[in-house]
């Protein structure tokens, strides 16, 4: 789906001045440590800019209303929903996507744990799950299964790999404590 299609076709009647011409605005986004300057329509959601303009298609798109979590990225180090974030409003914030987790080709420990614990089946929700899981571990929200499940409840998995996702997060938390 193109960014333009995702604007929808809101045709609700209400008094509103007509004729404001569409004009793009220039934004500078800091994505995975690199500055990316581009012109965007102010209506563009961050998820569409990441995927369609910057080619970072690891971030997925599904419900588009903040319910499913597949579009989760980090904004200034915290899990956020890129389908509910206007790209213009993300200027000057540090954005990390799933592509930004691995270093020199080595998977992030959370990514490795997802592989080892078999934490996905179809894989569509996995990038968002991994981004939330990294925030869960980094924020120290791994005290119990219940705490992990609460932290992760904004990421829906249709294949229901939830027990394996919790296991992966626990494995990373344990090995981080052991280090």
């Amino acid at each position: 789906m193109s960014a333009t299609e995702s604007f929808g076709t809101g045709t609700k009647a209400s008094a509103r001045p007509v004729g404001a011409a569409v004009s793009c605005v220039q934004v500078t986004l800091v994505v995975n440590g690199a500055e990316r300057r581009l012109d965007v329509d102010p209506r563009s959601m961050l998820v569409d800019v990441l995927r369609d303009r910057l080619g970072l298609t690891g971030t997925k798109k599904c419900c588009e209303r903040g319910e499913c979590g597949v579009c989760t990225v980090h904004v200034d180090g915290r899990a956020a929903l890129s389908c509910m974030t206007l790209a213009v409003a993300a200027e000057d914030r540090e954005i990390t996507t799933i592509e930004g987790l691995a270093t020199d080709g080595d998977l992030h420990p959370v990514q490795r744990a997802f592989v080892e614990e078999d934490s996905f089946q179809c894989g569509y929700c996995t990038p968002g799950q991994v981004m939330s899981a990294v925030a869960c571990v980094d924020g120290g929200h791994t005290g119990s299964k219940e705490e992990i499940k609460e932290f992760m409840s904004g990421n829906i998995c249709r294949c229901s790999a939830y027990p394996q996702i919790v296991a992966a997060i626990q494995a990373v938390a344990v090995s981080a404590r052991d280090r």
Binding site: F7, G8, G10, T11, K12, A13, S14, R16, P17, A20, A21, V22, V25, D41, P42, R43, M45, E64, R65, G66, G69, T72, R78, A79, A80, L81, M84, T85, L86, V88, A89, S132, A135, C136, K149, E150, F151, M152, S153, G154, N155
Partner: protein
């Protein structure tokens, strides 16, 4: 989604004058509600004014007299604040039972108060009659599915409930909303911030369109220190309340209630305080479950359940007893 111009604002006064000069401008904070409204055509602004950079609105200040929460404080930051957890435990409890971690990271406290109903007729992707959405178009919920709807204070124009969890706690703890408008500042108790639907259900709150929420103040009290929030819902996490209770009690040495605060969520157009129940539980021992239950019965005499939401009356009564006992440490969370 119609085109809008995007601007970043630099000061609260600039936001107020922009709202006064342009009725087609809206403010953007966390965006978790506004962006949905834009996508659904519930709101079609010509200008979106980003207030996230406004100075002075993102502080959490805990003082002996009370708590002050800046309007741009994020839900997750308030929930994690150690002194808020110690002195106002119901507030973090309500916040952590709301939404998901991503949404809590994004959503502002001012925006939380300005959420609009989750009534499925209001949120319908293909527009249905709804007096909140299109005044005069009718209320689909009146004759439609009413299981999640109000039992208190509704009108023939609207039977929606308000979705905020933390607003229920703020109402119970006598918090006030600070508003900045063209004529200066004013404070409104949370209990009167939300309107009854009456004949104008499109107006959720008494906030004027030209006003900006700058913060929330919560007075310190013994009741606040012994406050709790119970949310009853159909999933363990990431779901709105069927019924919720914010309650707190001050006890004497023998465990008898000296003072209490009780508010309900999920039952009305806004948080629903029960002053009659607060009075009648005084002198009841907090471990006396039957006594508490008997004391709160009369507070439900003006409940008007509809076809499928009558269960909320019984659910709310049981939840109040449990929350008072949890707050006092005599029942499990």
């Amino acid at each position: 989604m119609d085109f809008f111009a995007y601007e970043r604002l630099s000061a609260p006064a600039v936001a107020v004058s922009a709202l006064r000069d342009d009725p087609h401008a809206v403010l953007l904070a966390g965006g978790t509600e506004l962006v949905n409204w834009l996508k659904d055509g519930i709101m079609r602004p010509a200008r979106v004014l980003d207030i996230n950079g406004l100075p002075g609105l993102d502080a959490i200040e805990v003082e002996a007299s009370g708590l002050r929460i800046g309007a741009l404080v994020r839900m997750s930051d308030l929930a994690a604040h150690p002194e808020v957890r110690r002195d106002y435990p119901a507030i973090p409890e309500a916040l952590l039972r709301s939404a998901s971690q991503q949404l809590r990271n994004m959503a502002s406290m001012g925006g939380n108060l300005l959420q609009r109903t989750r009534c499925p007729y209001f949120r319908a992707e293909i527009e249905l009659p709804c007096n909140k959405r299109a005044p005069g178009s009718g209320c689909s919920a009146l004759g439609g599915e009413d299981r999640s709807m109000a039992i208190f204070g509704w009108s023939e124009h609207c039977i929606a409930t308000h979705p905020s969890d933390v607003a229920v706690v703020l109402a119970a703890l006598d918090a006030e909303v600070t508003l900045q408008g063209p004529d200066g500042f004013r404070s409104v108790p949370v209990t009167s911030f939300y309107r009854l639907p009456g004949a104008e259900p499109q107006r959720d709150t008494v906030k004027e369109p030209t006003e900006l929420i700058t913060g929330i103040t919560v007075p310190a009290s013994a009741v606040a220190q012994r406050s709790w929030y119970l949310k009853v819902r159909e999933r363990t996490s990431y779901e709105f309340a069927l019924v919720s209770v914010a309650a707190g009690a001050e006890l004497d040495g023998s465990g008898t209630i000296r003072e209490a605060r009780i508010a309900l969520g999920g039952v009305a157009h806004g948080p629903w305080r029960l002053p009659a129940a607060e009075r009648s539980v005084i002198d009841v021992r907090v471990d006396d479950r039957d006594g508490l239950r008997a004391a709160i019965e009369d507070a439900f005499s003006d409940a008007r359940p509809r076809r499928d939401n009558g269960f909320k009356v019984e659910l709310a009564k049981r939840a109040i007893v449990r929350t008072l006992q949890t707050a006092a440490g005599v029942a499990a969370e």
